[in-house]
Structures are given as C-alpha cells and as structure tokens.
C-alpha cells in the first residue's frame, strides 16, 4: 500500500496566535510542463479566520540604483517576455482559512500552443486579512473610537519549465567600499541561458594569510541583469590590505535540489584597502 499525504507537523495542538496572516509553503513554486500543475499550502496559525485572495502578475527581482532588491512589475508584458501570469490559474482564488487549519491552493497552467522551450515566470500574490479586530475605546465617554486593521500581501515566485532549460550567470564589476563598520560589496550579475539563475552568493573577506575575517551568504535570483549590494559586518578592521572573494553557486538550503538548475560556480575577487 502506498500512501501520500500532507501534514503540518509541530503546529498540531499549537495555541492560536493573536495576529493576521498565513503561513505559506513553499516560498517558490516550480511547475513542470509535463504535469502543468503545482500547489501552495496555506496554514492559519491565528485565532481568527483568514480571508485569502489569490492573484498573479508578471514581474521579477531586479535592483535599484542603491543595489537593493526590488520587484520590477510589468503590467503589460509583450510577446517576448517570459510571462506565465496570464495562463496560470489558481483554484480557489478566494477562500477562508479557519483558525489552526490548512488549505491547499492548486495552480494549473494552460500555456499557449507552440510555447518554446524555456522557463516562464509569474508572481503569485497571496492577500490575507484577519477578522476585524474590535475598535478599542470606552463607549460611554468617548465620542470617537479609532482602529486600523492590518492586511498582509505575500508575493512569491512561480516558475513554469518546458523542455530543455538551462541557466548560468556572469559576474563582473566587483567592487567594495568601507561604510562605517561594514564592507559594502557590489557586483554586476547577468543571467545566462533560458531560465533564471537561482542560487546563493557567498562573500568572504580574507586577510593576507587567507583567513576569513567576515562573510555573508545570501540567496539570490538573477532573472536578467542586476547589481546587488551586500554589506559585510567587519567591525573595526585594522588598516591594511585584504581580499574580498565572491562566490556564486546554485546551492540553496531552502529549495529541494531537484528544483534548482545546476550551473558551474562563478568566482571573482578584489583587493580591499583599509586606510
């Protein structure tokens, strides 16, 4: 006998929380062209029912002029954009998740005929609103009672893969600057192939003996080109010459390995002078 099931462990029997929002897993959905379907699990850990609305749009992570990650939204993607937003549907699109219960959202893809091999993207929006909290106030003395409820919208990536997909990244323009007690690191990353580069960036500051003085590891997704900025906490670094090494690899702790497209690691380094 074979049995397959979904369960939320550790939460069973947990006391409800006084908050609004739902737990969402996974945080990225990969849909294979052979199955054309995916699923997202929602769990409401709160004491009130959560009203959830699901929607899609086309967008992708990029960087702004400061190197911060932003999601670039394309309201009307043209035919050359790898957008899956218009042909992936969620079932249901509106639902109420009772307290301490879970619901599954099914994603079904209906790609246009003749879709070329490659990876297509959409952003899934999960809007969750809890029950109206009572407006606080003393009714017999106050003329006005005021309260605001909080709503949360979580946006995650959806990736539809058809046929042969491959990815890679190039690294250029690596530079650094000491900013206060941190070392700011910039690099230009350019995606290769027909799929987003999903991986990790590992920055390490080394002394002349090769000893690691500071390091940072962060997930990264490169969809086109971007120039992210990272900050390594270095504290009070003695004057001298150091080396900053930046490694990009497709290893990710938060994604199952079969979902991550392999690509050779990429590395660059640059000298850092601390006056």
């Amino acid at each position: 006998m074979k049995r397959t099931g979904l369960s939320l462990a550790l939460l069973c029997g947990a006391a409800p929380l006084a908050g609004q929002g739902v737990v969402i897993a996974p945080h990225a959905v990969f849909i294979d062209a052979r199955t054309r379907s995916g699923a997202v699990l929602l769990y409401n850990p709160n004491a009130d029912p959560a009203e959830v609305v699901i929607s899609f749009f086309f967008g992708y992570p990029a960087t702004d002029s400061a190197g911060s990650i932003v999601v670039r939204t394309v309201e009307h993607p043209d035919a050359t954009s790898p957008s899956a937003a218009s042909w992936i549907q969620a079932f249901p699109r509106r639902l109420t998740v009772p307290p301490l219960e879970r619901q599954t959202i099914r994603l079904l893809a209906s790609p246009p005929p003749g879709l070329a091999d490659g990876e297509y993207w959409a952003r899934l929006v999960i809007s969750a609103k809890g029950g109206q909290l009572p407006v606080t106030g003393v009714a017999d003395t106050a003329k006005l009672k005021v309260g605001l409820t909080l709503e949360v919208r979580t946006i995650i990536g959806v990736f539809y893969r058809k046929g042969a997909v491959h990815t890679g990244v190039t690294l250029s323009g690596l530079r650094t600057a000491v900013v206060g007690d941190s070392l700011a690191v910039w690099a230009r990353l350019t995606q290769q192939g027909n799929a987003a580069y999903i991986g990790s960036a590992h920055a390490a500051l080394l002394d002349s003996t090769g000893k690691t003085l500071a390091e940072l590891k962060a997930p990264i997704g490169v969809y086109y080109a971007m120039e992210p900025r990272w900050a390594l906490p270095i504290g009070a670094l003695a004057p001298g010459r150091y080396r900053l090494r930046l490694d990009l690899s497709t290893g990710r702790e938060d994604l199952a390995p079969e979902l991550v497209l392999p690509s050779p690691p990429v590395r660059d380094s640059v000298e850092v002078r601390v006056p």
Binding site: L17, V71, R123, A142, T149, I156
Partner: protein, 167 residues
Amino acid sequence: MYTASKAALATLVLALVATAAVRAQGVNGSISATATVQSPITVTGAQNLGFGNVFPGVAKTVAYSDATNSGQFSVTGQASTPVTYSFSLPTNLTSSGNNLPIGSWTGYLNTTNSTSGGSAITPSATPAGGTLSASGALYLFVGATVTPPVNLPAGSYTGTVTLTVSY
C-alpha cells in the same frame, strides 16, 4: 544534501510531504518513509494600530515605538533573504460615510522585535528593500497621526494598513 534551514525550524512550521510504503513480509514488517521539508514564508500583522478614544479637534499620534498601540508586522523565512516591502496606507478612516484624516506615517525596520538597533523608515507605496536576519526574521513597526475635525460625528472609525512583502 538538502537540509532544513534554521529559519524554517524557527517558524515551527514544517510542511511534510510524506510517502510511506508498507509491505507485509510474513510476521515482520518494514516501513520506508521520506519527507521533504519545505521552507515557508510567513508575513503576519502582529498588532493593529490602535488609537483608542480620540476627541474632535484634538489630534492624536501613535508613535511606531509605542509597544502597545503601534502597528506591528513580522516576516519570517529563509535566513539572509532579501525582500521587498511596501505599504498601502489610508488617508482617511471611515465611519458611515464620514472621514477621519490620518497621516504623518512613521515606521521602523529591524531584524529583531524591537524599535532600537534598526532603521527608521517612511512607510509608503514605493517598494523598499530589507533583508531577513541570520535567523530569518524581519520586523516592521508603523505609527501615524489622526486629526479629527471639530465637527466630526461620533462613531467607530476604521481603516486598513496593507503590507506587501515580495520574497
């Protein structure tokens, strides 16, 4: 080797996809089981922004540092993950068609659940970037000022603050 992240464990949420195959083998039995741990993301409105009682003609401010009344959000997910956040903020609270102006929004961003040691922010619809902590957490606090006109009718005035987090 695929391992569960500390962030995922910190959320105390594990989504398990379990497959068990059971075969009878005489008087003995064997079970094989596999489990895939999926890293979740959670964005929570942890505390509503509460002004309590206000009076016509008297403005009232709730600071983001007000532990009891400020609006508080939390984000949990994979450690050190960059996220984008933005706010949708009302300009009026409403009650039976009457408007109570609200504005002068203030905010604070931190990787710990505290309004010190982080960064002051100006909540707005323009997306801004943040990074989850090494334990996979990020906290946002908001405050604002309501300015009731002197002739504002009595009632319960409500509105919604929306936080959008892109992972």
